[in-house]
Amino acid sequence: MTWVGKSALRKEGEKKLRGEAKYIDDISLPNMIYGITIRSPIARGLLKKIEYLPGIDWKSIIKVTAKDIPGKNYVALIEKDQPYLAEERINHPEEPVLLLAHPDKNLLEKARKLVKLHIEPLPAIYRLEDALNRTEIIWGQDNVLKSYAIDRGDIEKAFKSAAHVIEGTYFTGAQEQLYIETNGVIATASKKEGIAVWGSMQCPYYVHKALVPLFGLPPEKVRVIQMETGGGFGGKEEYPSVISGHAALLAWKSKRPVKMIYDRMEDMVATTKRHPSKTQIRTAFDKNYKLLGLDIDFTIDGGAYATLSSVVLSRGTLHASGPYFSPSIRIHSRAVATNTPPHGAFRGFGAPQSLFAIEKHMDLCANQLELDPVVLRKNNLVKHGQTLGCGQVVKENLKLETVLDKALIASDFHKKRKAFAKKNKSNPIKKGIGLAVFMHGAGFTGSGETFLASIAAVKATAEGKIQVLTSNTEIGQGTNTVFSQMAADALQIDFTDIEIAQPDTAFVPNSGPTVASRTTMIVGKLVELAALDLKQKLISAQLLKEKHTRKDFLSACKKYLKKLGELKGFSQYKAPPNVVWDDQKYQGDAYGTYAWATYIAETTTDTRTFETKVEKFWAFQEVGKVINPNLARGQIIGGVAQGIGYALYEDVVWKDGKMANNKMSNYIMPTTLDIPEIEVEFMELPYEFGGGGSKGIGELPLDGPAPAILNAMENALGLELNQIPMTPERLLNRLEQTRS
């Protein structure tokens, strides 16, 4: 009996279904008090004074400002520009200034209204264009957090000799991760005992890394434990470092455990969002409609501090040219600062932004060249042996065109386009069908995985189980289940014999963050290798033969433990051979492998109310080996649903740099009535270096829906659309623009 490839039941499913799974707000510690954060009401200025208004017994309330920080006041991530608590300068609305703690959670709400921050305003900028135009310099010398340049071939020559040159500009808005469980932690802290934080998070070791300099304590004195986490999607990649530090600072000062849970309004207004973007694309085609040159200018808005913007920019840049081959490429990109709360990780991480642009652009080109959008794409799809935009030669067995053909057949793409064109003439409700062809690189970019040098471990327990020890977290995507499947197969034992250790930095090695679609592929592989390492120890101790039964194995573990004490297996990441990345030129093998996909959306737009609904959706992809079909399907459908929100509904309304619609009644995510039937199909070409033969799939489904949906709307309405979310209000404006 093997487990990889089967829909093994979710490991922690029963707990969750019974309502017994413990999320951070479900637990309490003895002597625990509560904490809240007081934040700047304005975008930029100089903090002059904190005033405590009468109406409450301020003496009973613990207060923490920057002055109380025992170590260094910056959130350790990449740069050191983001303070934990503002000292003199305010750089974005909702910037944390003051922390308060008290045993009465409700009293703190009264206190929240009785703090007045005196801030002398400074001119602020809120738009990407203003950052680029240097309307005001708010970060570094020129507002540029990071930039990249990829130049290959002779781009000027390509455009001079082109038969057709087509230009387009594309915009994507911010998007809120909207995990249904908000951010929350409980912290204990003292110089003697060190720091301990329990919380909702994706990356315990990121939090660990941030708490060490904040308190100036040695790493062994900081402990971070992940609790059951109600969704992350990137929103709990780096942000938990901030809330953890805050709770820990209050615990340090009050000498009591502190629980800090954000309510929805605070979580939406103060934490990270997907980076807004602006992309300008120029394409040069020869007379046979083959790409000669691809010139892309890609900008993302990083908000007030650098945080992860350089990495989001990197991924966006490396995906910007899509799955197409062009002999000459220029991709120039930058992340700029604005006075808004820092933007951060959200599933896709730069790729949904740049892939939206290139896939919209291909339809624009097809329309202007009067070509079928499939024909134009097929003409330019990268082939085995050709290079992608980042300079990576496609060495794998590429089946993208097969995936594309399958999706076209399943959706009846061309037949529908003809039928809709006819029907639309006499109907106020216009139907359309559109596609997106794309890829997503799994794992950290370039030398990222080598730099992470992740470690995984397994150990035999006294109770006769095999425990998997990694810092990769279950956040709903199925980590616990797929690790159990892969470990069980590696050891030829049962799924139920495997136990997953709670990600607790005191006990698990650093196997890297739960991001970048790396957990199943990269860390799963490490789990398999660690299991084999443990098995090898049994073989070397002559307690087990290479060929064995489950009974043999479990009994060998028992014997080993009795005789030699601890039984553990380890593995550490080693890059696959022949993966070469040039950090200077920013070119080469950006990713170990890619998943390849074609998504097709069928939409209806009511031209009386300008509302668009996705009626049907096809998500077809080649993803290496599917470890668990049920879970994998759930990942794709869930991702497509977020993509539908990104395309049509999820509009962040900004007012003076602040999210004005920070309530679930005003920030619109899709309900059961807004999501159609989504047909999911997987093509499997096992990837040798991925756990169980897998490729990462977590983020792939965010790349396709928005361009496919807008391409469908364009097909239905016969006008060019270049912005998401394409709300009814924006569609109305666009229709009026085209008429005038």
């Binding site: 309004m265 509904y649 309900t671 807004d674 209000e729």
Partner: protein
Amino acid sequence: MRGYLPDYDLSSAENLIEAFGKLAEGEKPFAGGTDIMVLMDAGVLPAGRYFDISKLKELGGIKVLKDQVSLGALATYSEVRNHKTIQKHFPILVESAKEVGAIAIQNRGTVGGNIANASPAADFPPCLLVYEAKINLISSSGLRTLDYTQFHLGYKKSEIRPDELIQSVLLEPRFLDYHHFWRKVGSRQAQAISKTMVAAIAKVNRRKIEDIKIAFGSVAPTAVRCRKVESFLLGKKLTSEVILEAKNILTKDIQPIDDIRSTGKYRLIASQNVLEEFLCGIG
């Protein structure tokens, strides 16, 4: 939960006398809580004393009499939606009840609460305006009946006196031979606060409009009857020119604004288009 509980009290009125006594003390009525609790949660509910009216039998239920249907102030959206007589005679009320929030909200939100809270986007008022409802207000001095069209005076201002409670809404089942139309335009298919909504009924005889009543919500400080459009359409045959002109006149009956959910321009055009949709359907 941002409301500071010690600033509030909630007691129960066991009967009408107790309720009137509490009103006299300045306490505010609390019915289903789907509006008040949202404000409490956000920390913006005005501090003070509130009293639960859910036990007051006089305010409850849906009663069908000979020429009258009475919706008690405490009738919930679910009760309205599932009531056979209302489904038959007042289908727009059923349609609007179905689209309020979702089932959990419909089980708690009340007719009286929807009217008293008087959000410009309230779901029942446009329906009650076109069905020419009457509203019963009760106080220690007795019952006062008003035409519902006289009830709302302006943004969050109404005819209700400080010593009164909404007792019920009265409807006359005389619209069986009318066309009934309801359209709510929101941000998504469920749980949507409306950007515009139209309730309309019309009696058409040989393509001529014998009677027509149109009301919009979310496009003015209160729900509004479109008097100018109605008087224009009365007695006319529905040609495409008439419909176009009706759309133009609509701009005089409604004043949609820009807000966090939508723009005035969108609301206006969507309103004109749903009006057109209604008129095309009955012509």
